[in-house]
Amino acid sequence: MRIGAAAFGGLGATVALIEAELVRRRQLASADTITEALTWTKPLPGSTGVQVVAFLGWRLGGWTGSAVCTVAFLAPSIVFMIALAYAYAALPASPAVAAVRRGVLAAVVGLLLVTTARLAGPILVSPLAIGVAVAAFGLGALDVNAAAIVLAAGLLGTRAPRA
């Protein structure tokens, strides 16, 4: 699976590449299977892109297929990331490097703001959901354990009158 190496730019790009490779060029899977994979893995926790790969891998070759596809998909990212982590640790502490780093971090903050807004759009649709998000923000800022907050919100969701 060469797809991992080229899957820049998140879920949309990943799925488009998988579709081009598996459906059109190799005819290993149908477009329906990919839609199915997306539908079923979206509600699961975790990275949807990898989960689509694991799903399709299982359909193609059972547990072995799933493991092989997932590892192949992730391997390039892991190698890149270890190299970058090493490079980051080895950066000299010069003023110029610090200035560039602060600029990049400011850009990360900007990207995260937009990511939050994009993710929030389809989720924060009810007063209850907005209340939960505000409460989670407040509790998180007050150093309450993040895992506890998400678990409590999930349990609250199972008690809510409707989904």
């Binding site: 991992g4 899957a7 820049f8 199915e36 893995t41 699961l44 926790p45 990275s47 949807t48 892109g49 990898v50 989960q51 799903f55 891998g57 299982w58 359909r59 992730l74 390039p76 990212s77 892991i78 890149f80 990331m81 970058l84 980051y88 110029a96 200035a99 560039v100 780093r101 600029g103 990049v104 971090l105 400011a106 850009a107 990360v108 903050v109 900007g110 990207l111 995260l112 937009v114 939050t116 993710l119 989720i123 924060l124 907005i130 998000a133 409460a135 407040g138 998180g140 150093d143 993040a146 895992a147 998400v150 678990l151 919100a153 999930g154 349990l155 969701g157 199972t158 809510a160 989904a163």
Partner: protein, 174 residues
């Protein structure tokens, strides 16, 4: 043992990431920066930047955290933890013809947890902003510019990160 702890903590993170890989970012930040002080908020911000620059999922920040805690073996332990459970679930779903994700209680749990993840993403963004950007007007300008470009154009995040770096260099050299 640190490798077991890395593995276990990232399993927890991945299981609470309702809403896709980016939903895991606040969990990773709380875990690696706030709770354990494994890395600084600046280093976490850099890891997020690298995750946007490298191919594949954003949750690959686990690899960065693991590397900084315990070298290459730590990176592999954290990465395995971050992806093992979600991928096993996905394969199970493929096998079970997906009954599991249709169960009402599971759907409702996800619906309840997702807004909480949004709130925590806000906390994480603030934590990086406080540590790395501070109160400099130049950097607040970069934040606003990148947010505007990201929301209003189809520019790739990598382009915006490089732009931020260049502007940061210019503002720092004056």
């Amino acid at each position: 043992m640190i490798h077991a702890e890395l593995f276990a903590r990232f399993v927890l993170v991945s299981l609470l990431a309702f809403g896709g890989g980016q939903a895991a970012l606040p969990m990773v930040e709380r875990l690696a920066v706030h709770d354990t002080h494994w890395i600084t908020a600046s280093a976490f911000g850099a890891a997020v930047a690298f995750a946007y620059l490298t191919p594949g999922p954003v949750l690959i920040v686990a690899t960065f955290v693991g590397y900084h805690v315990a070298g290459v073996s730590g990176a592999l332990a954290a990465t395995l933890g971050a992806f093992l459970a979600p991928c096993t679930l996905a394969a199970l779903v493929a096998r079970q013809a997906a009954r599991f994700t249709q169960r009402p209680w599971f759907r409702r749990f996800g619906t309840g947890a997702a807004p909480a993840v949004m709130g925590l993403l806000g906390v994480t963004t603030l934590a990086i902003a406080r540590d790395a950007v501070g109160t400099s007007w130049a950097h607040l300008g970069i934040v606003a510019l990148v947010a505007g470009l990201s929301a209003g154009t189809r520019l790739h995040p990598a382009v915006l990160l490089i732009l931020g770096g260049c502007l940061g260099y210019l503002s720092g050299s004056r």
